[in-house]
Symmetry: C2
Subunit: 447 residues, 2 copies
Amino acid sequence: MTDAKKPIELDQLVAANDLVGIRLWLAEHPPYEIADALTRLPPQRAIIPFRLLDKERELEVFEELDPSQQQAILMGLRDSAFRELLEKMGPDDRARLIGEAPAKIAARALAGLSPAERRVTAAILGYPEDSVGRFMNPDTVILHRNLTVARALEVVRAKGSEAEIVYVMPVVDDGRRLSGMVRLSELVTSNPDTLLKDLVDVFTPRVYATDPAEDAARLVQEANLVALPVVDSEERFLGLLTFDDALELIEAADSEDIARQAGSQPITGHYATVGVLRLARARAVWLLLLIIASTLTINVMQGFEATLEQVTALALFVPMLTGTGGNVGSQSATAVVRALAVGEVRLRDLPRVIWKESRVGLLLGCMLATIALIIGSLLVGTAVAAAVALSVVAICAWASIIGSTMPLLARRIGVDPAVVSAPLVSTLVDATGLLIYFSVARTVLGL
Amino acid sequence: MTDAKKPIELDQLVAANDLVGIRLWLAEHPPYEIADALTRLPPQRAIIPFRLLDKERELEVFEELDPSQQQAILMGLRDSAFRELLEKMGPDDRARLIGEAPAKIAARALAGLSPAERRVTAAILGYPEDSVGRFMNPDTVILHRNLTVARALEVVRAKGSEAEIVYVMPVVDDGRRLSGMVRLSELVTSNPDTLLKDLVDVFTPRVYATDPAEDAARLVQEANLVALPVVDSEERFLGLLTFDDALELIEAADSEDIARQAGSQPITGHYATVGVLRLARARAVWLLLLIIASTLTINVMQGFEATLEQVTALALFVPMLTGTGGNVGSQSATAVVRALAVGEVRLRDLPRVIWKESRVGLLLGCMLATIALIIGSLLVGTAVAAAVALSVVAICAWASIIGSTMPLLARRIGVDPAVVSAPLVSTLVDATGLLIYFSVARTVLGL
């Protein structure tokens, strides 16, 4: 990679207010690296190097930024520069920016647009948040199915340089209904007299504008598409979801799932620029619910206080047992949530998943019980050790079943399976695991 | 999406051995959906519908499968069909299949190839596993920098239909050194007399064949590339990492990180077809290490046995405290591991990350301590409740610091930060958290 070659970082140059140095740095770096460096600066400082960019590269850098960073940059621009930048943006990026901006910026932005661009933007904003309509790009070359290859290439030559980069193009009928897609490379290599309708692939996947954006992005990935056509309810072509937007959607979805798996709410924005308060807020909700839920463990412990007083050694193993149960349950939950996310498991697989995970849990439980038996025998004697070992088997099987079932049940009731986080499973397994432990101990020890 | 339209599933048709039905089903579905359905069948059954595919679609479906599934299919084919399929595969897919296959299949595969194809495959296999060299496609149209646009288009017409789908092409000098990339759409829309060297972008990112594949894939995403050129140490062009392979690499890397975060080893292959033993093995290693590490909690509890006997109520809060500490630590660890994976945090940010996370932990700790104080006062009285509440503050701050520091330290010593899993952090915080709790309790209660 190119990382080793740049000893001086942009933030140092900005801190030193070295305008000549900044200009040089900008000239030597590609747009995506400039955008990355701007992201690491505090918003009020990012405007300094941004203003020094030459006009052609300004847009490319700007479109690489997060909506929140774009807002900060826009706030720092004069009115004319503000309008110019927005007018040049791709309609999908612009709509996303305006959709997420505070009302004041959104109004200023819409007011500054030309009527044509304002119409396109408003149309995109009409689709529900997180629908693919919000992410599609309507700005592409559209070809009629009765064109010949030679005529189609003329259309591309005439319009191609204004539109977004063209790799594939929609082919439509008289009613603008999508017939299929044609690749530019097919046009270049095909006989000039061939009609487009004879070239298009009958299996072209398509999505409706109101479909969830994440599902559409996963389809782009599954079907290896450079761009997925988006249509309205009457199959009329509306725009393209391109591979780069799909990649971004998948990365964002994975980041969200990962955050949820740890019991955090997803935060948008760059880790480096997110404040302490926002981070704490994202994590607080689940922690609060879980500490309240963990009151159950106190109740269980209180219910068995007499047992604990008779055999105080039982208390020693509580952290080990709750820890192990939590670990096994988290593993199952994480595996099933991921399998659901990438489409490897579906709702109707529920019985098979439970059957598989309970066997996995039982197997792991037997293995861990052996260790627990050895550790327990060495530290407190065989009777308590036997109770602990038996509990480990039961808790592991139980934790696997809980961990694997809950994400599928969440999906069934229409909740994102990723909310079945490792901490949630651990907390549930803690209380029920203790119940199992003390019941087993009472039986084994004859109390 | 198209899901609602297919009431009959392929597995039902295969189970009923309904060959006519299978043929019909295959004709009605695109290759990526066929591949998905084959994946859900047991390997020895997947060969039945695969043999019924028509020749043109066979390859497309086959290339969509995982290497392990490809092996199972190959084993079920006659020698001639086996050779024909391998010869038609893309060199990168073929190399990956052979690289991961058992020696017997690999030898049979290499032996069946034509000398030219065998050379290309062997070259790809020469690169280290997980390097981008293993994933690049050498089969593309290469253009000389002194060509005109018109000549270049003739080259594309002559060679374009044999090579992989062409969206962008490498432009090289006499020594095959990469000058940059040119898009097919630029060729189509540019003046025919322009020289390619005047068209190529000076900022073309490139990677070396030995660079890690995941880093290259993230670069494809960051720079929105349809294909990233791969060069050797002398900057000579070797092949392209295309967006679809990058997408697959990122999805696989995310799946691996997610599995590691839950304390599992990543498994390759589809969840539905992975056996119980393999799942258990992937999860066993960490569980074993962690249950042994959790012996520390027993030691801590034993060390404070006298305190526990004096105030038995202290034992009641052990699961709540270890649970909360684990949750807070997991959140920090997960956030930092993800920020590292997507490049939002780098090693040199360590002090800033610790400073940020410790403030987040302290804030969350104060909030949770309030709840703990209320719950504790209601259940066991204010003295013990005060000890619990103070411990919550300290444990949360400590857990955040542990959780955020460890992934960065792992990166520093060259270990994948994702091995700093939620269960690992929880287990470490369990023992140290108990130490904090009993020390605080002794001081507060004056024992």
